[in-house]
């Protein structure tokens, strides 16, 4: 069965079983490996994507449920030549150790900044509470999100 949806701004068609979790469809169906798998149980946030702008775990979201909707993965946030302000800020703050958690965190943070352009630290912590990081990079990640918010508002960091 073919499932059609919008991915990172472009239409895609995927011929995979409709019960395939989106995370696997992205990685093995489309070769987009940025969305990471960590638990398969909506408990770690490594697999976060934006579904119609809302951050959701893609490990339990089946392909069928995505038909006709808008999906944005970490690859859709920005590229090395045209980075999202969050990606720039994460590099400036060197926010990350092993980096396995970062894709999901960037996606959650992008959703936050679309909703609240001027979050305080508490709002950032709350928005990222569903994303686990085992390396203890949290504080740098929070600083990076605040820095990105400032730069998106045109405030020099």
């Amino acid at each position: 069965m073919t499932v059609a949806f919008e991915l990172n701004g472009a239409p895609v068609m995927l011929d995979l079983p409709p019960e395939t979790p989106l995370v696997h469809a992205l990685r093995d169906g489309l070769g987009l490996f940025g969305t990471r798998w960590g638990c398969g149980a909506e408990a770690c946030g490594a697999c976060m994507v934006l579904l119609d702008g809302q951050p959701v775990p893609s490990c339990t979201l089946v392909l069928d449920a995505v038909a006709g909707r808008r999906v944005r993965s970490v690859e859709g946030l920005g590229t090395p030549t045209a980075p999202h302000p969050l990606q720039t800020a994460f590099l400036e703050e060197q926010a990350g150790q092993c980096g396995y958690c970062l894709s999901g965190i960037l996606v959650s943070a992008a959703a936050l900044l679309e909703r609240i352009p001027d979050p305080d630290e508490t709002a950032v912590r709350t928005a990222l509470d569903g994303n686990l990081c085992r390396c203890g990079a949290h504080n740098r990640i929070i600083r990076a999100v605040l820095r990105a918010a400032a730069s998106m508002r045109g405030v020099p960091a």
Binding site: G34, D129, C135
Partner: protein
């Protein structure tokens, strides 16, 4: 000039034959055991340098630090340097990447090797160009004479084989003051890929024809497979004894098939695990192997007071965010494995044992995984993949563990019981210290036992007994006894480790090993002794410390934290703790501020550390902060739970870790010591952070909590 050196493969001269005066001095770090210069770096004609260490990236930033060192010693731009992932067929064997030793072992080796490469090239170019050696300089890889003209470059010599020699020892790396890149905050080389979601992890590797497998673990520890279900459509079962796997064309199918097979396989099960509350008694009852670490009688003065205290840490999980993964391919030639193991050479050995295959027919390539924090399932999953690959020759097989595998079946940090008896004079001066550690060892890494230490090896039809965890030797920092020797001046000193010889749950190294419980015990007791003698805990520690670098970190952290603004609030407390990691590593002092309501919350941490020369200050501070935040998680939340049959904390719900909303503010200060040898930073903060939190809880609530984690239950029990 390379002809003057011994042939590359000749054994180094023995001091017994030629006498000590002409014996070569030891080469620094891992160079001593891997002397061939070309094993450490390659110069490419297109103007690039590839550093090829045997240490591996485990999220600690080692690749970047090594590139910095190479840039300095070669006089080459940082941007020209890349670091290649290690593989057993060509890399120097640097043993395990662990114990915060990457910069010590590999950094010093790369520094010396690059300095040697530079000297060799300069010598050749000087001879050929007639420009005197002293007036040549190197600018971004190009050799420049006194008139400013280029007379050669590394790149032009790339094909001339100048590095095919034993590394000379008579070269001097640059003095600290001449380093331009090492000592600065160079950006992590691996981070851009991770921020843009590029395929960088082993998990992202795909090979043509790759198949995907999942393992169906026994439902309990000693369960034996009795009856197999049919393979689901599109899946194939691979079975060897009680090792059971499904292999499919995609990861999604493999995950689905594994669930279906698990529901229908039949196993014979029985209770094999001891009741958790009895662990401490079992540890003492033995059987144990007792090793004295220190035994020095006191002066015999009668103590005014004796303090006895018992501490307990439960089993802990490494709990990587990315579950363990491996890729394997079996062919006529042998076995090829891609792994995020911390010890690829030892993994190759144990794979050979488990598969009854000569190690020469196995190649293990390192690829990055998620942070591992010690010996997790990285090695185990490599055997899983190899077993499936053996059943599908020619087709590469990828295995990624489920979250339940990861939290339920990887080796755990060992549970330990620590007892301390401290005798003091009337004014609190320490007269004697007796320290006993009980429980399993902290070392089940591959490469140390006669039988393979890989999980599936004990599930095979012809099983290998799982080796009981050892403790690394005290000279290597010890295991359960790591940091058991107090840094404080005392008369009598008796330290013993009682390694339990039963192992109901597999244990191995987890960040800081025994230091976590030992530093907790020592620093809690020191705090208690200070207060009992009516002395300030900081002054009391300083009065027992002679080491100036120990005193310096304590004084620095006290200055950083300053007095609590507005005095102490209700239910708020501060505590300090100090340790020098392994007794030979980095010095670290921590002040923690906690708030204790229904549960304890850590508000702030101040950390001062002395890690000698710091190659990447930003990276080192980040490592220390990461270790400290993880220690907060350990202190407040973490405990592996189990019933008679198996581990029950095998999900993120049942093994919770610290979340963003719970992470304290952290300030880190590194004392500048550019001329002192570099010491690792990854583990130095673990023990002091846990201990500082415990002392802060006492400050807030007046209770000594001696059982980790500091949950409401354990605090209530301590209150009695």
């Amino acid at each position: 000039m390379s002809s003057a050196r011994p042939a590359p493969d000749a054994a180094p001269p023995r001091s017994a034959d030629v006498g000590p005066p002409s014996a070569p001095p030891r080469l620094p770090g891992s160079l001593e055991a891997n002397r061939r210069l070309s094993q450490w770096l390659r110069l490419l004609p297109e103007g690039r340098v590839v550093v090829t260490p045997g240490k591996v990236e485990i999220g600690q930033g080692i690749l970047t630090a090594l590139a910095q060192i190479a840039a300095d010693e070669l006089d080459v731009d940082f941007a020209r340097i890349s670091v290649e992932a290690a593989a057993t067929d060509h890399s120097p064997n640097e043993g395990v990447t662990s114990g915060s030793r990457s910069v010590q072992d590999s950094g010093l080796a790369v520094r010396h090797a690059c300095a040697a490469a530079r000297a060799i090239h300069l010598g050749v170019v000087a001879q050929r160009s007639g420009v005197p050696l002293e007036s040549l300089r190197v600018e971004d890889g190009t050799f420049i004479g006194p008139d400013g003209r280029a007379v050669g470059s590394y790149w032009r010599e790339a094909a001339s084989g100048l590095l095919e020699c034993d590394t000379p020892h008579d070269v001097a790396p640059k003095p600290a003051a001449a380093r331009r890149v090492a000592g600065t905050a160079a950006p992590r080389l691996d981070l851009p890929d991770k921020v843009f979601g590029a395929p960088r992890f082993l998990h992202d590797m795909r090979l043509p024809g790759m198949m995907f497998a999942r393992i169906i673990r026994p439902p309990s520890r000693e369960a034996r497979l009795e009856a197999l279900p049919e393979a689901p459509a599109g899946a194939r079962l691979v079975v060897d004894g009680s090792f059971l796997a499904v292999v499919c064309a995609t990861e999604a199918e493999a995950a689905g098939a594994a669930t279906r097979v698990a529901a229908r396989a039949r196993w014979a099960e029985r209770d094999t695990l001891p009741p958790a509350p009895e662990l401490a008694d079992r540890f003492r009852a033995g059987p144990v192997e007792t090793t004295p670490i220190a035994d020095r009688p006191g002066a015999g003065a009668a103590p005014a007071r004796t303090l006895r205290a018992t501490f307990f840490r439960p089993y802990m999980a490494h709990a990587s965010i990315g579950t363990c993964c491996a890729v394997a391919r079996w062919s006529e030639a042998g076995l090829e494995v891609w792994s995020h193991s911390q010890s690829i050479f030892a993994l190759r050995r144990d794979l050979g044992l488990a598969l009854r295959l000569p190690a020469e027919r196995i190649v293990v390539h390192h690829r990055e995984g998620a942070g591992c924090y010690g010996h997790n399932g990285a090695d185990d999953v490599a055997l899983d993949a190899a077993l499936v690959a053996r059943a599908t020759p020619g087709r590469p097989v990828r295995v990624q563990w489920s979250r339940e595998d990861e939290l339920g079946w990887a080796p755990f940090g060992a549970a330990n019981l620590v007892t301390v008896e401290a005798e003091v004079a009337e004014d609190g001066t320490l007269l004697s210290w007796t320290h006993d550690i009980y429980g399993n060892g902290h070392l089940s890494r591959p490469g140390f036992s006669e039988t393979p230490s890989l999980l599936a090896a004990s599930h095979l039809a012809v099983p290998f007994p799982a080796p009981v965890a050892l403790n690394p030797a005290p000279a290597g920092g010890g295991g359960a006894d790591r940091n058991a020797m107090p840094a404080y001046r005392t008369g009598g000193l008796s330290v013993r480790v009682h390694r339990w010889l039963e192992m109901p749950l597999r244990t191995s190294s987890f960040r800081a090993l025994g230091a976590m419980a030992n530093v907790l015990a020592i620093e809690s007791v020191m705090d208690e002794l200070a207060l009992a003698a009516g002395r300030d805990p900081v002054a009391y520690r300083l009065a027992h410390l002679d080491d100036p670098r120990a005193r310096a970190v304590i004084e620095a952290v006290v200055a950083m934290a300053g007095p609590p603004p507005g005095g102490r609030g209700e239910g708020v407390g501060r505590g300090l703790a100090f340790a020098r990691y392994k007794g030979s590593g980095a010095w670290c002092a921590v002040v923690a501020e906690v708030e204790a309501e229904e549960r304890v919350r850590v508000r702030r941490l101040w950390i001062a550390a002395d890690a000698g020369e710091v190659v990447n200050p930003e990276g080192a501070a980040h490592q220390i902060e990461g270790g400290a935040v993880q220690a907060v998680s350990i202190a407040l939340k973490e405990e592996v739970t189990f019933d008679g049959r198996g581990v029950t904390s095998n999900s993120w719900d049942t093994y919770p870790i610290l979340r963003f909303s719970e992470v304290p503010a952290v300030s880190v200060q590194l004392l500048p010591r550019p001329e002192a040898p570099p010491l690792g930073t990854g583990e130095c903060a673990t023990g002091p952070t846990v201990a500082a939190i415990s002392n802060a809880i006492h400050d807030a609530l007046g209770v000594r909590v001696r059982t980790l984690p500091f949950t409401p239950d354990n605090i209530a029990q301590a209150m009695g």
